[in-house]
């Protein structure tokens, strides 16, 4: 019978340590996205629930810095979902995929090859720092090795939708890197 990491002693200790260290910071961070302290508390709870339910297992082998980054990105995603739910009217565009021409092929993924071949790494690193967080968050998790299916679960989206979001994010990065080039 498999045991989730949070059921092991090490897992429990890690969960306690993360909770004690980050609960206040998480709460403050989430309050940027939500008006209600009660909702912010719920998000904090959801984050640690996610970790206890298997999240810790997925993060096995990662250092604490990376774990904290995952936690805060997850908190942001949960907070955004709650914030949308709270609005009295929600337009179709809020949930539907925003219209924009999407490359119909994997041009965006090949951009990583180009970064290496064209010696664009420094430019790309700088671009990552100024990219819209909604793209940067996705790319961070993607570059750290999360598969499309795992990202889809994280974002409560279908895998095909998630694939499109990754391509959009890669395109946003590509546009940022080539911006100003003539």
């Amino acid at each position: 019978m498999s045991v989730s990491m949070s059921e092991t002693k090490d897992g429990k200790d890690l969960l306690v340590s993360l909770y004690d260290k980050y609960k206040q910071g998480l709460f403050v961070y989430i309050c940027k996205y939500l008006d209600s302290p009660e909702d912010a508390e719920d998000v904090v709870h959801e984050v640690f629930l996610m970790l206890a339910e298997g999240g810790l297992g997925k993060l096995a082998g990662r250092n604490e810095k990376e774990i904290s980054r995952f936690m805060f990105i997850s908190a942001k995603n949960i907070a955004r979902v709650i914030a949308r739910k709270k609005r009295k009217t929600v337009s179709f565009e809020e949930f539907a995929e925003p219209y924009e021409p999407i490359p119909h092929f994997q041009a965006a993924e090949l951009f990583i090859d180009r970064i290496i071949e064209e010696d664009l790494l420094e430019k790309a690193e700088a671009a990552m720092k100024t990219l819209d967080p909604k793209y940067a968050d996705i790319l961070y998790l993607y570059f750290k090795g999360l598969k499309v299916k795992e990202l889809a679960e994280e974002y409560h989206a279908r895998p095909e939708t998630m694939r499109k979001r990754i391509y959009r994010a890669l395109n946003a990065l590509r546009n940022e890197v080539y911006k100003g080039d003539e």
Binding site: K23, Q24, F92
Partner: protein, 229 residues
Amino acid sequence: MKDTETKNRLAEAYGEVLDREIAEASARGAEDPHVFSESFEKRMDKLIRTGKLRRARPRKALGIVIAAASFIVLLALIACAVPVVRNAFAGFIVGRSPDCSDVQVRGETKKLIEEEYELTLIPEGFEERKKSASDILIKRFYLNAEGDDIMLQQSADNSVHTITDRAELTELDINGMKVLLARGDRCIIAVWLQDGYSFFLGYYNAPDNALIDLEYFKAMVGSVRIAGE
């Protein structure tokens, strides 16, 4: 430098931004700690100390949001799958809605890839960089130094191609084949049936680059043939 190393470097670049945000939030939290509610403390105590898992708010609360989101996204997808308007193209089954088109060639296709096809007319500056292949699908990617991309897809299972672009669709004849052409802001796409395979050719130009000449693109369509012939 390898692919994974590059991805890690890029992730770490944004990671530094995240670390700063986390540090600032943690510092503010330490300066002025929030007094958590009693119900929160009880839930967390159960979760952290005893390992008992219980959701703060009923799962359905978030579930409703997710279901609503999925439903609305589903509506958006259905809008394309159940076409508002079916255009009468002789060689193609096309479903159009305001935002996208589903395109499929009319006619029988082979069940498996028996011969590989390639683009024999390639614009100057492009070269084939990547190829992915399975029993029923081959994709070839061509790139140039300016950031423009070309993809040639050969499929044996009569794929439905979704063109997510408010493009004008035109059916025309190239070398005796019926070809459906779609032209968007930064891409030109062609779909056609050739020798029992459904083909897709797409040219995508990087921002600020000029789109390829239409006549040249049509010639590229006509240049697709069995590799090595």
